[in-house]
Amino acid sequence: MDQKESVRDITPWDGTLSSSDFFSAACAFSEKWKRFNAFVPPWLWVPSRKHHLLSSHKEEGYLSLEGMCLIKSSEEQESCRSQTWKEESSISQEEEAVDNATLVQSSCDEVNHYDFHIVYSPSYRVPVLYFRSYHSDGQPLPFGEIEKDLPDHSAKIRSESKWTFITQEEHPYLNRPWYKLHPCGTSEWMKLLFHGDTALNKNGFVIEHYLVSWFSVIGQVVGLKIPLGMLETLSC
């Protein structure tokens, strides 16, 4: 293993990860997320279904964050539109606490539900964000509505970078159409994000912080913020 590490240190890193590195990176990411995000649901590792019974390859799977609700205020003007993410279960708790007099107001707020999965792509050797959105009744949102949910700077990021665009493709494990952020340029900008870091344990550092860095960019496209505390861990 020592030999391998020194070989890796010599060859310039191309911004990609192996499948097992992704698993390690996913563990590190979900752990940090829990630490810095006490009031937000955790990212859970979902072993891929076919390996459900074969523990020797529990490493194959994806990270899942489901049941996120995007609550939009009923303000018509875009500049006033606020975007708040809440966990599904916390919303229902709030509704119970509200009395009849205020129920009328809250029914004007639309709640769109979002599920996010971070899935490894063996072809591109990078993580890929998949997401889907649906109304409270389970009806999927058309893309036009999803676009309205995305933060204003998302369109800017997507148009500026010819690499980052949203497409609809089949989820690699679930046999259903999901939206995904195209992975074509990921390795390029991941390389840039880590440029200049010459920590001694280069590989371990990269794996440990890969998803935090990746998410700091990708999250912006879908409006998921990464807490400052997590970003600060990148500089130590």
Partner: protein, 359 residues
């Protein structure tokens, strides 16, 4: 398949490009508004093509009987909606274990199941999906998709047209510019001879563009059975896409001295959970499997002690409608049987124990 050794590269390509599946296409009952109902349409579909591209042939048969509305074409086989972005030949090899000729399909022009199938807006969607796969194959082979992104408009048009029309010559003219090369080793051209393949290349393979990274774009479609079946007729039917494990993962060529990399090796390398003893293991470095963090609930729990796995058995392998001998060099299979988007599609049936079966 003993014939492989005597078929030259160009002959093999020709056979693959000419391959087609006869389809007998029935309009779904719910969309028949006239009596008598229209007879089914008999269509010869290219293996390398895609079902939605048949609309121009099908529409005339059924247009007079369709209910009013906008056409949203989709197909099903015995109740299973067909994924339109999978090449026709692959769908046939996968779903029709005992090949049915003609293959009886049902067509719909209404009521698209958008919760199950990706939307398809005709030829443009299919073309986009094709180019996307081509980019992915380029990335796998070369580490970037610049060659595809930088194609001239006219080249892109010609490439797509050549696939639409099944024109191999035109395809080779344009695709050779991509320099995606072919997988070269001493077994490529001639199975019995050990000669450097580069001298023997006929027009299309660019010897200078040998695959350096050793990654080959492959799409594996795996289904499992728990019992032997004597003949194909008694093989269980795939009635649900959850019964197919779709593995879109490149094969990493591992060269060992004195041993060539066979089709069998390639398939097993993509299924390490079923073939753990395989010397060509694709899932990544064993040395990097380290536990990170301590919590165990729902987060990563890398339990790397492997259960003693029963030996899975490869029962059936189909590529371009043929069942190749598994000991054929993988390089030959790739160079001769891949699809125009540079992916090799392989349908595999595995026999496993009850516990390991895909449900």
């Amino acid at each position: 398949m003993s014939g492989a050794a005597t078929v030259s590269a160009s002959e093999a390509h020709k056979l693959v490009w000419e391959g087609s599946v006869p389809l007998l296409i029935h309009l779904h009952d719910s969309e028949v508004t006239t009596l008598p109902p229209p007879p089914p349409a008999l269509v010869l579909a290219p293996r390398l093509g895609y079902l939605p591209l048949l609309i121009s042939e099908l529409k005339p048969y059924f247009s007079s009987t369709l209910p009013p509305g906008v056409d949203t074409l989709w197909f099903e086989y015995r109740g299973l909606p067909l994924k339109w972005y999978i090449p026709t030949g692959v769908l046939f090899d996968l779903l029709c274990v005992e090949p049915e000729r003609p293959w009886n399909l049902t067509v719909h022009f209404r009521g698209y199941p958008s919760n199950l199938l990706l939307p398809c807006e005709g030829e443009d969607s299919v073309k986009w999906s094709f180019i996307n796969s081509l980019k992915e194959a380029a990335y796998v082979t070369k580490g970037n998709c610049k060659n595809v992104m930088n194609m001239s408009q006219s080249d892109q048009v010609e490439l797509w047209r050549s696939v639409l029309n099944g024109n191999l010559e035109s395809y080779q003219r344009v695709s050779s510019k991509l320099k995606l090369g072919t997988f070269e080793d001493e077994y490529t051209e001639n199975i019995s001879a050990v000669s450097t393949a580069s001298q023997q290349n006929s027009g299309e393979a660019d010897a200078a563009a040998q695959v350096k990274s050793g990654r080959i774009p492959v799409r594996l479609y795996v289904w499992t059975v728990t019992e032997d079946f004597d003949d194909l007729e008694s093989a269980p039917q795939i009635d649900n896409w959850d019964k197919v494990s779709y593995i879109n993962r490149p094969v990493e060529i591992q060269k060992e001295d004195g041993k060539y990399f066979s089709l069998n090796d390639a398939i097993k390398s993509l299924l390490p959970e079923y073939f753990p003893g395989s010397s060509f293991d694709n899932l990544g470095d064993a040395s990097t499997k380290q536990s990170v963090g301590d919590e165990r609930e729902n987060t990563c729990d890398p339990d790397s002690s492997s259960l003693p796995l029963e030996n899975a058995e490869i029962k059936l392998v189909r590529i371009q409608g043929i069942e190749p001998c598994l000991e054929i060099p993988f390089s030959w299979v790739v160079n001769n049987l891949m699809n125009p988007e540079y992916f090799l599609h392989i349908c595999v049936c595995l026999k496993v124990s009850e516990a390991n079966a895909l449900q």
